[in-house]
């Protein structure tokens, strides 16, 4: 009864590359739980624990702030691997990275201290950017920050806060002051302990069920130095939009990877049964592979566009060409993921349609349809339409 057991140690990080760690999290934690997470619409706790163990939550934080300083391209590679195993886990990872990069890249002293705290404790960070009454426009707020000396408070009626209940902090957008117009927003860091979340609905969706994103009335009181100094318009155009569209697209690419793997293995099994005869699905597989390649190249090129501009502190990041390119990425990737899962479904046929076969594509198909509706493609294309009137360059 008094035996002292050696502390449980995980052979973590010992020389393992970023992608190898992502693969372990996917294969050992996210993948095995994916079906249950999806069915029950529950938070993927085991995958999040594994992301913490393998130090993947903070990998994009610069080295001098305790992270690994990985590029957006590398982040996308991790998101893609996770997406292949569990799209909900991958989306949570992607959204978290967008939040932490927003803080790192638009830092002020209070925020820097918070990032250090977040890195030291492996915080999971959520965001509340949509609000009832704005018609889905994240660049417009109804709620406003109220200042009282060193304290600030706000109340927001948010139609969705992804994994809000499980996050250690939530980044909330609000009007700068009670007198500010709807578009003059700031980003406020709220520690979970300073936040009250009153649920206003359930999260019973077709796909991405494990992101656990119901609506809440959020009430928070935090300190004035946790109001990020930069205007939210800057944070949004330079970091939140390009980073989120890139990492989300990488997640969707991961879903497409999973569907392609099933299609490929299905065609191969048919081919094995009739040696010497090319199975009918092989042609469809070849066609799908060509689309898949475009998709992968688009995600990689878009992340590289961001990394090149970010390292140069390039003014082009606030330009229209950059915004248009990132809008196009999101719309194209979210369309291609559905296209590729559909192609895989036709290749696998009834085996893909069944819920109880090794080629089952139901979860991927349902998750894939989340892509076009989260930040609705029509809203993005309307924004692009306006920019297109002005833009004269080539993308």
């Amino acid at each position: 009864m008094t035996s002292v057991s050696a502390p449980f140690t995980v052979a973590e990080n010992a020389g393992l590359s970023l992608l190898a760690r992502a693969e372990i999290v996917g294969r050992e934690s996210a993948g095995p739980a994916a079906a249950e997470v999806d069915r029950e619409g529950r938070f993927p706790h085991e995958a999040l624990d594994a992301l913490r163990v393998h130090k993947l939550l903070n990998c994009a934080v610069p080295v001098d702030q305790g992270g690994e300083g990985v590029s957006l391209g590398e982040l996308c590679a991790v998101a893609r691997i996770l997406g292949r195993y569990c799209a909900s886990t991958a989306m949570i990872f992607a959204m978290h990275q967008t939040q932490i990069l927003s803080l790192v890249r638009h830092s002020t002293p209070g925020v820097t201290a918070f990032v250090a705290e977040a890195v030291a404790n492996d915080y999971l960070i959520a965001s509340a950017t949509t609000e009832l009454g704005t018609g889905g426009d994240v660049r417009s707020s109804v709620c406003a920050v109220a200042r009282d000396g060193e304290a600030v408070s706000l109340t927001k009626n948010a139609p969705v806060i992804s994994y809000g209940e499980y996050a250690d902090a939530i980044l909330v957008t609000a009007r700068r002051t009670a007198d500010s117009p709807p578009s003059d927003q700031v980003l406020v860091v709220c520690r979970r302990g300073d936040v009250t979340l009153e649920p206003t609905g359930n999260w019973d969706t077709l796909g991405l069920r494990g992101t656990c994103s119901p609506g809440f009335v959020l009430t928070a009181t935090t300190s004035a130095d946790l109001v990020v100094g930069a205007a939210y318009s800057e944070i949004s155009s330079r970091t939140m939009l390009p980073v989120s569209h890139s990492v989300w697209s990488a997640v969707w690419l991961g879903i497409a990877d999973a569907a392609m793997e099933k299609a490929r293995s299905f065609v191969r099994s048919v081919a094995r049964r009739s040696p010497g005869v090319t199975p009918p699905g092989a042609l469809r597989l070849a066609e799908a592979a060509a689309v898949h390649q475009q998709f992968a190249d688009l995600v990689a090129a878009s992340a590289a566009r961001f990394d090149a501009a970010a390292s140069a502190q390039d003014e082009s990041m606030s330009g229209m060409g950059f915004s248009l390119a990132m809008n196009n990425l999101k719309v194209t990737a979210s369309t291609l993921v559905v296209d590729l899962v559909n192609r895989a479904m036709l290749i696998c046929g009834i085996a893909g349609y069944r819920e109880d076969s090794q080629y089952s594509l139901g979860r991927h198909l349902r998750d894939a349809h989340g892509a076009a509706v989260m930040v609705n493609n029509d809203r993005i294309m309307n924004n692009s339409a306006q920019l297109s009137i002005a833009y004269r360059g080539t993308l």
Partner: protein, 80 residues
């Protein structure tokens, strides 16, 4: 003269929360409610009013951040 035209364009297209005629030339238009959507309309109206075309390198947020910034962009284009 130039500044008056800029103010008029802002009044018609910028959807600010304040009167564009009484604005400080250095005031941040984005803080006063200018959105990227509205800034495109402002740009088109300025092109019309001054018979110029904004090249791509000027199509960024900072170009339309204040009356002063718009004015210097127009100067750069030889319009004012």
């Amino acid at each position: 003269m130039t500044e008056q035209v800029i103010r008029k364009v802002l009044g018609e297209h910028a959807k600010l929360s304040v009167d564009s005629m009484a604005l400080d030339p250095a005031a941040d238009l984005y803080e006063l409610g200018l959105t990227s959507h509205a800034s495109v309309n402002v740009m088109l109206a300025l092109e019309d009013a001054f018979d110029v075309e904004f090249p791509d390198e000027l199509l960024r947020k900072s170009t339309f951040a204040s009356i002063g910034a718009i004015r210097s962009a127009l100067t750069e284009l030889g319009a004012a």
